[in-house]
């Protein structure tokens, strides 16, 4: 009998809400997040007309939060896919082939772990300049070290297993063994770390945009909305509360989902994990 | 606790002990209706396969059962007093001082971050009210008494710097530090190398005999118990199915499970294997068909007089 997995369910529901908000944004609001600015309605508190109030340009905060989910999720998911691909290919190949390649990957992973990913992303943004593509590259290149470590250690333990050796005796190519024998056996932990990684990427995007180095105004990134809201927090606190709440709910959703998945896939692993 | 003890009175007496998990519809018992007694200075063996309830019986004696396990029925009389009636504080004073315990895994039973000397010295600080300096000196003596070479240096060693046999000696030193009346040894040699097992057992026997300490030795290995204990109880599926003098048990086992156990014991002077005349009996094949066992015993009328097989109790099925 499995215990009810609160983390999994709560996390699932929260992420689902955010995904629905992002996908169906045009149906959930009649306004445009960028162009429907009306100074007549600037800094209005939350009301029946503007659920989350309006910002300094009279744009509907609710609409902007909804469309902001699109940016956050895109950045979070795409950058995490890039990370996973990098981490998996490096980790699996390093452990499978060993030798100098393993040493190189190991060294690189250690270096990556030493540089805080936000700082690394900041450096890349400094070179590429602000914008969505740079963000995807910056966040996609900087957070693969844990995936790589997990892939590497799983491969090391799987490599000695009979069926993997059997596959190589049968003349399977290395790539095919990695793809068909090794990869499917680490899906669980990789899924967990990737889910947590999406949350981390959403946070990083918000932070970079808040610093003015990510998505630039007027596009509705939650982080960038907070930069604007900071100036008028005394007059219009709602403009600061709701975008932040959206980040919080999204990241919380992915974190709970990741924790829940971990419990679901491996109930015994629970205690040691930080 | 300090009442004069009659010479013939048992040191420890279990009466109809049940251990189980309390539930809404009564307790689900894992150990059922276990009764036996140990005289002062006596060595009593408890044998049975893993999961038969030996360790739970032992842990219930010193009230260290892990939640949600609980003693659901029965009495645990130590020198005539029921241990279950003691306050937590009184029970703590009893543990280690009067009733000591050795566990199976000497690897993990010692704290890896503390020197063995300190872990022995704790006993004197806890029960004899000594300061650390004095307790430290006593620890050296305690270590010497279990025949650890160079005890003055070894007290400063950490558990990982010792072999399994040495660690188990440290555990024995801890357990016997305060001259307890009863030593519970739960599979004390199972995790050790075969060559070391015998030494450790002999050490326990020798030290306990010298101090008049009673021993409750728990093992799945009848050979171990035969060497050390005057009397033995056989546990099977949470019940004590047979309790006899060791000699009698070997000469005339009554319960089919005991017969199986004995049959699985290789003996000197007998040739085993296909070429030999006698084959080792595979216990698995005997107890595999647990249902047969249950039917054979549970549904017969309880009449120990008419059927001596039943005197030792019933084999109960517990999952």
């Amino acid at each position: 009998m499995r215990r009810f997995n609160l983390n999994l369910w709560l996390g699932g529901v929260l992420t689902l809400i955010v995904i629905v908000g992002a996908v169906f944004a045009p149906w959930l609001t009649s306004l445009d997040p960028v162009f429907d600015a009306n100074l007549m309605y600037a800094e209005e508190p939350p009301s029946g007309q503007f659920w989350f109030g309006t910002d300094e340009q009279g744009r509907d905060v609710y609409t902007r939060v909804l469309y902001g989910a699109r940016i956050s999720l895109t950045v979070g998911i795409v950058s995490q896919i890039i990370n996973s691909v990098i981490g998996l290919s490096l980790g699996i190949s390093a452990a499978y082939w060993g030798g100098w390649w393993d040493d190189l990957v190991n060294g690189l992973t250690n270096v990556m772990l030493a540089i805080p990913s936000l700082i690394f992303a900041l450096a890349i943004m400094a070179i590429l300049g602000p914008g969505l593509p740079s963000l995807l590259i910056a966040l996609g290149l900087t957070n693969w070290s844990w995936t790589c470590r997990i892939a590497r250690s799983s491969t090391l333990s799987l490599k000695g297993q009979g069926y993997v050796q059997a596959a190589s005796t049968l003349g399977y190519s290395d790539i095919r063994i990695m793809w068909t024998q090794l990869l499917p056996n680490m899906v669980g932990p990789i899924l967990v770390i990737s889910t947590l990684g999406i949350g981390a990427a959403v946070l990083a995007e918000a932070a970079l945009s808040f610093l003015g180095l990510g998505i630039r105004p007027p596009f509705p990134s939650w982080g960038a909305m907070l930069t604007g809201a900071r100036e008028l927090i005394v007059i219009a606190p709602w403009a600061a509360v709701f975008p932040g709440l959206a980040i919080f709910v999204t990241v919380l959703g992915f974190n709970l989902l990741g924790d829940g998945l971990r419990d679901y896939l491996d109930p015994h692993m629970r205690t040691r994990q930080q | 606790m300090n009442e004069p003890v009659e010479h013939n009175a048992p040191l420890l007496e279990l009466k109809n002990l049940h251990v189980g998990i309390p539930g809404r519809r009564g307790s689900v018992d894992i150990v059922r209706d276990v009764s036996f007694s140990i005289m002062p200075g006596e060595a009593f063996g408890l044998v049975g396969e893993s999961g038969s309830g030996k360790s739970l019986t032992a842990l219930s004696l010193i009230r260290l059962l892990k939640k949600p396990l609980k003693v659901s029925q029965g009495q645990i009389l130590f020198k005539g007093d029921d241990l279950q009636n003691l306050t937590d504080r009184a029970m703590r004073q009893m543990r280690g001082d009067r009733i000591a315990m050795i566990f199976q895994e000497p690897m993990t039973a010692l704290n890896p971050l503390k020197t063995v000397g300190r872990q022995i010295a704790e006993m004197f600080v806890l029960h004899k009210g000594m300061g650390w300096a004095e307790a430290g000196r006593k620890a050296v003596d305690a270590l010497a008494s279990v025949h650890v070479p160079a005890p003055e240096e070894r007290v400063r060693a950490y558990p990982h710097q010792m072999s399994g046999g040495m660690r188990q000696r440290v555990m024995i030193a801890i357990a016997l530090a305060c001259d307890p009346d009863l030593l519970i040894a739960d599979e004390p040699t199972t995790a050790l190398d075969v060559t070391v097992q015998d030494e450790v057992l002999k050490l326990i026997a020798e030290l306990c005999a010298a101090r008049g300490t009673a021993v409750l030795l728990i093992s799945h290995d009848l050979g171990v118990i035969a060497n050390m204990c005057q009397r033995v109880g056989v546990m099977y599926s949470g019940r004590l199915v047979e309790e006899r003098d060791t000699y009698d048990l070997f000469a005339d086992p009554r319960h089919p499970y005991t017969k199986g156990l004995l049959g699985a014991l290789p003996r000197l002077g007998t040739r085993h294997g296909a070429a030999g005349r006698q084959r080792l009996v595979d216990i698995d094949s005997l107890i595999k068909d647990r249902d047969t066992l249950l039917q054979e015993f549970c549904f017969e009328p309880r009449n120990p007089v008419r059927d001596p097989r039943l005197r030792a109790g019933m084999a109960g099925g517990v999952e």
Partner: protein
Amino acid sequence: MLRFTIRRLLQVIPTIIAVVLLIFVIFSVVPGSFASSLMSDGRGGADADMVARINEQFGLDDPVHVRFFDYVTGLLQFDMGESFRFRQPVTEVIGDRIWASLKLSIAAMVFAIVVGVPLGFIAALKPGSILDSITMIGAVSGLSMPQFWLGLLLMYFFALILGWLPSFGYGGGDFKYLILPAITLGVTPLALLARTTRAGVLEITNEDFIRTAHSKGMSNSRVIRWHLTRNVMVLVVTTIGLQFGSMMGQAVVIEKLFSWPGIGTLLVDSVAIRDIPVVQGTILVIVLWFLFINTFVDIIYAAIDPRIKQT
């Protein structure tokens, strides 16, 4: 112990070299120098002539390997080049601000340890209790919250509404100015520490030697003091080290939010105007700090865990 320390210190050197190389490569091999970005931004109004002059002055026209060699020899003499913006050596620019950053990191870490560790401990001693649930919900929330948003709300509430604390700035080192940024920065490590401590206590409680301790007749409080605490601390120290080490990196956003004059603010401002020598220098300092703390923690770890020295 001394040998272990020396060996551990030597082990970091390759990582440091790799980090230096990586930072250099990122900023030097990629197209777009400081001068050309000035031109394309149109801000500086720099013409081709000026670009050439800047390039020459900073040696930007030299081949890559020459520049790397110059960079490394410079580093070895504590020379990180000269800031484009301040016209001052980078080491001086960073040196002026590093103390503010250190102060903030230490204050945040102290806050996180003092609150997080006891909280995790108490939560684990009564698993499933209300306090335990609240702690764990709080911890996962703390990990999911954007710190700068929390900082913004704290600033709004305690500074602007209640007026108890200054909203931002350094205040010449006045303690009052430190409180809000330190709490904001400390929330994530606090949550993580509470979680690690709780998991550690639960793990150790189930160890055999705790059962041994009980069988010796120890009271619960003695078991905790004599056998649990130190073993849990061994597990927690690693988390403390990792968090403290990466704190300067995490502080970047918080420093900017509270206009704290540390190297985080310096980094963000320098990135914005592409003051590359300063960006390189700051990142290097942040990474070196991380490596330094981690090595230090490893050494401490060896001191409190006798099992380590052997290997």
